[in-house]
Symmetry: C2
Amino acid sequence: MKLTIAQAQAVVNVLKFRNGLVTAVARDFETKEVLMVAMQNRRAVLKTLTTGLMYYWSRSRRKLWLKGEQSKHYQKLRRMLVDCDGDVLLFDVEQVGVACHEGYRSCFYREVKRGKLVTVLKRKFRPEDIYGRRTTSK
Amino acid sequence: MKLTIAQAQAVVNVLKFRNGLVTAVARDFETKEVLMVAMQNRRAVLKTLTTGLMYYWSRSRRKLWLKGEQSKHYQKLRRMLVDCDGDVLLFDVEQVGVACHEGYRSCFYREVKRGKLVTVLKRKFRPEDIYGRRTTSK
């Protein structure tokens, strides 16, 4: 999915940014598996809508971030939903490779079982093979 | 799902609160439909895990909030997943009634179509019938 600049701006104008940010949930467009949650500023939403690729705002690195710019594990935009308050966005995406910098398909690879975190997904890549070195996703 | 206080504290201790908060995504435990996204502080996570009912932190009202305390539309905890960074939680819940204060099953009832927000879910309740008067969920 790609919008014109005018269409993307119309969408951004109805969103409610808190300290300049909205929360973005990315979900597999077919299985509906939740892949990751990150933040977006106005520019990240605009870039996402006009390029059809997911962009986020990295709070730790304080920069705009094209998901997959390093790993090539891009997220292609298929559908966007907006919550009642306009401050959370739900994106259906076509995930190339894996979403998580730890090498799992989804960042939610750990489940709470009797007070412990248990890994419930299979690792698809070693982080070194994605990035060359360990890094953080956000 | 309910944990003992000691088990719940062990879980909370591995989370990474940012300004005292983590992001919580609540999803229908059967259909996996994303119902809502809100924030939790340490106490909200502890209360959720020990009571088996979803609690959130309301940033606008600056208070702990039992989901359903007013509307009786509680969310019963079935499963909890934690993301790679430990700052986003994904909850599978059994939703009583509807999640959204606007009367929709999910807060994500609007989809972006050609630059416009289009309502794509059916309203199940009028907000007045849930709360007596209009209010906000967060």
